[in-house]
């Protein structure tokens, strides 16, 4: 834009000229890598689902995975806590490191892994039991029996999930009586109750109305202060709203990974551009 000097020689900005804000300077990332994928391939029988994925997922932020149906984004998410293990013919090559340890290594216990890396699914999946028992389910499974401790864990998990004020007087009521959005927050509370480090979410709001969706999105951003969050979403605006980094997958390949604002403002790859602008997919 044009700046000029007025009669006093002081510089001023001509109000008649419109300007865009300065580009933010990329600052070095303070977050460490929670997951490191290195040339990771996933096969289901003869189907080559993920192809040579190399990616670092930073801690304490929301990372989004986007891509058209069948691109492998849910399979990628499920590879992070070995939820694919029971798929017939499942085979992996390359590495997924979680805090430096090989997720697919011999010494890794999938049950422990899934406690540290929790998962929330597309449709809310409350167990057919009370609200309290839903949240206490995980801690009990891991051996926590003391009532006062359970009370504490249930309350703090429900508070963190933004649900405590809604359910504190109805903890004994069946979880299935909650609304869809509340059930999904209950599922997040249930995940938080076992003290995970990472929360994986597979399209967590696709069955929810817009206001329940907003509450979940706000919750995720709050939780990212303490947890590492990876979300698969079909809703690109959701990825744009909640995540710091976005990965774009196409046909099992990682096309582009980078800061979300860059992916949605000026992506490097033509295929990312075409997908986010709705030219295909």
């Amino acid at each position: 834009m044009i700046r000029e000097e007025d009669a006093t020689g002081r510089e001023h900005r001509d109000p008649g000229i419109v300007s865009l804000p300065e580009e933010p300077v990329d600052e070095p990332r303070a977050n460490r890598a929670m997951f490191v994928l290195d040339g990771f391939d996933l096969y289901f029988g003869r189907a080559h689902i993920l192809k040579g994925i190399t990616l670092e997922i930073p801690s304490n932020q929301v990372t989004a995975i986007i891509g058209p149906s069948g691109c492998g984004k849910s399979s990628l998410l499920r590879s992070l806590n070995r939820m694919n293990d029971r798929v017939p013919g499942m085979r992996v090559e390359g590495k997924v490191l979680f805090e430096g340890d090989d997720v697919y290594g011999q010494s890794v216990d999938p049950v422990t892994l899934r406690r540290r890396v929790g998962m929330v699914f597309q449709r809310p999946t409350p167990f057919p039991m009370s609200i309290f028992d839903n949240v206490a389910y995980g801690p009990r499974l891991h051996g926590l029996a003391k009532r006062s401790e359970l009370d504490r864990v249930v309350e703090s998990s429900l508070r963190d999930a933004g649900l405590w004020d809604v359910v504190k007087d109805t903890l004994r009521k069946p979880a299935t009586a909650l609304s869809g959005g509340e059930q999904q927050r209950l599922c997040i509370a249930r995940t938080l109750a076992v003290d995970p480090e990472v929360i994986l979410l597979d399209e967590p709001t696709s069955a929810l109305d817009p206001s329940a969706t907003t509450r979940i999105e706000e919750l995720l951003q709050r939780l990212a202060e303490r947890y590492t969050i990876v979300i698969v979403t079909h809703n690109m605006q959701q990825a744009a709203r909640v995540s710091e980094d976005t990965a774009f997958l196409l046909s099992g390949e990682l096309v582009e990974f980078g800061p979300t604002d860059k992916i949605f403002r000026a992506p490097d790859d033509r295929r990312t551009e075409d997908y986010v602008t709705g030219r295909f997919g």
Binding site: I2, G9, F264, F280
Partner: protein, 228 residues
């Protein structure tokens, strides 16, 4: 997929380019009205500004609709942002044409100086060429072309600064001086048109590169001494 949206975007782009053609002619006509002392042409320029404002407002409203309804991203977002800014720059060029046409109307009876008029005609020719180039760079998505704009703007700045001395030469005759002071304002209006053309080029640069960069950092230009 979003075919309708992309058709709307293309239509907006075509209309902002058309607006560019209109305001460029408005500048040409306003300076011609001044040089030829043609009151009819000056009035026509002023009247046509309603058309310019109408197009400007219509384009702006449709940009806001597309942002609200289509949540554009990536190159679509950059294109909409560029159109939004270019639209405003072009409307300002249109206002400049009106200002010149009004001066043409009120200076008709004053004595005039052919050298100064030639000087203004030269400025007008250059800045109209710059506008055409900036819009062509937009249409062709041509980064190299818009990077040429700042150099084209340099002679405009020089001519604008030279006006001051030429007007001072008229100081002996109050009527001629009054005319000269008005012409200094015309020079200033034309100089602004050149700046708008450079700014349009910057928007094209943003559209193509995703980075907003000033082609000229005028705050570091040499001091403007000749009273401009």
């Amino acid at each position: 997929m979003r075919q309708r949206f992309h058709e709307d975007l293309a239509a907006l782009e075509a209309e902002v380019e058309e607006l560019g053609g209109i305001v460029e002619r408005q500048i040409g006509d306003a300076v011609a009205a001044l040089a030829r002392r043609d009151a009819g042409l000056a009035t026509a320029v002023i009247a046509r500004d309603d058309e310019v404002d109408g197009a400007y407002l219509d384009i702006e409203r449709r940009i806001l609709d597309l942002i609200a309804l289509q949540t554009p991203v990536a190159s679509d977002l950059r294109l909409l942002s560029a159109i939004l800014h270019i639209n405003l720059h072009l409307e300002r060029v249109g206002d400049g044409a009106v200002n010149i046409a009004k001066i043409a109307t009120i200076t008709q009876e004053l004595p005039h100086d052919p050298t100064i008029l030639e000087h203004l005609q030269e400025m007008s020719d250059i800045v109209r060429g710059m506008l055409r180039i900036s819009l062509e760079a937009f249409t062709r998505r041509d980064l190299e072309l818009c990077l040429k704009l700042p150099a084209l703007d340099d002679p405009v700045d020089v001519l604008n600064r030279g006006m001051y001395r030429k007007v001072l030469n008229l100081a002996g005759d109050p009527a001629a001086l009054e005319w000269g002071i008005r012409m200094n304002t015309v020079a200033r209006q034309l100089e602004r048109v050149g700046d708008h053309a450079v700014d349009v080029g910057e928007q094209v640069g943003f559209l193509l590169t995703g980075e907003f960069r000033e082609f000229v950092d005028s705050s570091h230009k040499e001091p403007l001494t000749d009273g401009s």
